[in-house]
Amino acid sequence: MPVLRWIRRNLVVIAGLLTLAYMILPNIVVMVFSFNKPKGRFNYAWQQFSLDAWKDPCGVADLCGSLSLSLQIAFWATLGATALGTMIAFALVRYRFRARGAINSLIFLPMAMPEVVMAASLLTLFLNMGAELGFWTVLIAHIMFCLSFVVTAVKARVMSMDPRLEEAARDLYAGPVQTFLRVTLPIAAPGIAAGALLAFALSFDDFIITNFNAGSTVTFPMFVWGSAQRGTPVQINVIGTAMFVLAVLMVLVGQLIASRRKSNARN
């Protein structure tokens, strides 16, 4: 049977595409339901097409406030985690020092720990210190759990860097500062950027740790969580869809520029 043979030959491709469909399906649902006009408080069943939510994305109380708060926290957490993580990555790759094993474990452990454990233990610390839960406690927590991921991303890049490049710079009259700015940083940049991007995504989308340590402060994921109990406004889907489209567009434009640049360099 030719059909069966074709299926057998392309089994991997078929299975892979099915998985891909499984991964994309919820995004499509989110998108479609951003045009829904639900009856009642929950937006789970299709009723009729409407542009209402798109016309008024901030029409729900606190939604856009929580979004802006999440963006702010993600921005500062990215900045902090990237700076601290990059320094650690450089120290780990470039220098010999005592307690290397202990430091490596300290960086690995947060990644090998269920989020809820970190969230709960951090809360006990804040409670014991009598800290007021809110923006700052969330920011502290986010920098903490993003740090390890940044270290891992930057470390990979720095490890593949030829240390002779920096020696060459020093040999060519660049002092320590110049060497770092002109050679080390530009070459390590893709790794640092990858780490920062990861940190931003992790921080922006974090729920569990934030849920424990935010007190009454409401970030965007917490808003969504709360609305799942009280009623889901269509605007949530609008914002989800907008973020998705925006991000995909950014990736595509980035790819386009990169390939354009590549072909330019070749000519």
Partner: protein
């Protein structure tokens, strides 16, 4: 333009310089003078300390003891970016994020020179890469990258140019070509070149003076021909080209030393012995393969008198083109090497043939017998 810089320079002088890492000594206390304007090669197997020595001149490695002088100036404590010395790195270390022009201009820019265009163009001209100014390093071939690395260093008019295995990554043919190229550039700019290599042919082709390093110290230093003809240690004898080493006992000394070895007697001039000779003492005799002639055992009578002779049997022969290389087993030593030029096609020298090896006694050199006879012999692993 290079002339003014050059006169301000001087010899590179290393005084008691050494380097230890923990308990490991990479370079033993070392005294070395590299004359201004010379092409100087540090030759040795990997791990012999040659690169460490080079890096101490560059300032990339801090010397554990000793002093580095450039002319009269002590530069030991200067960081690399304050030394008038530039390096061509192994595998070049070109900045991947900068194009060729910016790579070459890097040193000038760091010293605050704004208008670099003319000098960069002149350099690109010198290394014949004018058309590649705006390419990125990864878009160039190995040979081109190598030339960029040289240009990037030379544009700064260093007093000394250090080259760390600069041709190691190139294939054989390109390597030969670049050797001549580098030699041409050195003659053209007249700067002192210190060249580190493990390739003895490369060192001998290019350098005026070669220092052979082994185990963190200089074994012997001299002009290439001098090192080849008069090695003073087994390491140098084996590492530079190939040597047949025959162990024997000194029978008599005079202006000629006579040695009993392998059931016969061999002579050599006294002045070619680098070891003390006393009657009854042991001595290593060395002879280069190309200096030996081969004769059928039957033709023994036709060999001129006064030549050193050793009898043996051919165990292997390989036709190389220019020459034929024989391996001969003899009582004087197993697997003696003989290279014979293919001037006339000789027949009859097949494996199994009984032969007599003979050579001019003046071509023999004598070495201290207390050394490892196989020191410096390239093993299969080292060849890579």
């Amino acid at each position: 333009m290079t002339q003014q810089q050059q006169t301000a320079g001087g010899d590179v002088r290393l005084a008691g310089i050494s380097k230890t890492y923990g308990s490991f000594t990479a370079v033993q206390p070392l005294d070395l003078t590299v004359p201004q304007g010379s092409f100087f090669a540090l030759l040795g197997a990997s791990g012999c300390g040659k690169t460490t020595t080079l890096r101490m001149i560059a300032g990339l490695e801090e010397a554990t003891t000793g002093t580095v002088f450039l002319g009269e100036k002590d530069i030991t404590d200067l960081p690399p970016y304050k030394r008038p010395v530039n390096t061509v790195f192994q595998s070049y270390a070109l900045f991947p994020h900068l194009d060729i022009t910016e790579n070459i201009a890097f040193g000038l820019r760091r010293r605050g020179i704004k208008s670099v265009k003319k000098q960069v163009d002149a350099m690109l001209e010198l290394v014949q890469l004018g058309d590649f100014a705006r390419r990125k390093p990864h878009q160039l071939s190995g040979g081109q990258q190598q030339r960029v690395a040289v240009a990037r260093a030379l544009i700064n008019h260093p007093q000394v140019l250090l080259l760390d295995e600069p041709l190691g990554a190139l294939d054989l043919k390109l390597r030969r070509q670049m050797q001549l190229e580098l030699k041409r550039i050195q003659t053209e700019v007249g700067i002192t070149f210190v060249h580190v290599t493990h390739d003895q042919e490369e060192a001998m082709t290019m350098a005026d003076t070669v220092a052979v390093m082994n185990g963190g110290r200089v074994e012997q230093l001299g002009a290439p021909a001098d090192l080849y003809e008069n090695p003073r240690t087994t390491f140098v004898a084996n590492f530079l080209g190939t040597s047949n080493l025959i162990e024997g006992e000194v029978v008599s000394t005079g202006s000629d030393v006579v040695v009993a070895a392998g059931g016969g007697r061999l002579t050599l001039p006294r002045e070619r012995c680098s070891a003390p000779t006393t009657s009854g003492g042991r001595l290593l005799l060395g002879i280069r393969p190309e200096k030996i002639s081969l004769a059928h055992a039957d033709d023994a009578d036709s060999i001129a008198t006064g030549r050193n002779r050793v009898t043996g049997r051919i165990v292997d022969s390989s036709f190389i083109g220019v020459s034929t290389q024989y391996v001969v087993e003899s009582p004087a030593g197993t697997s003696l090497q003989v290279y014979e030029q293919n001037i006339d096609r000789r027949t009859g020298l097949l494996p199994g043939t009984e032969v007599i090896l003979h050579w001019n006694p003046a071509h023999t050199f004598g070495l201290d017998a207390d050394q490892d006879i196989d020191a410096g012999v390239e093993s299969v692993e080292d060849a890579a």
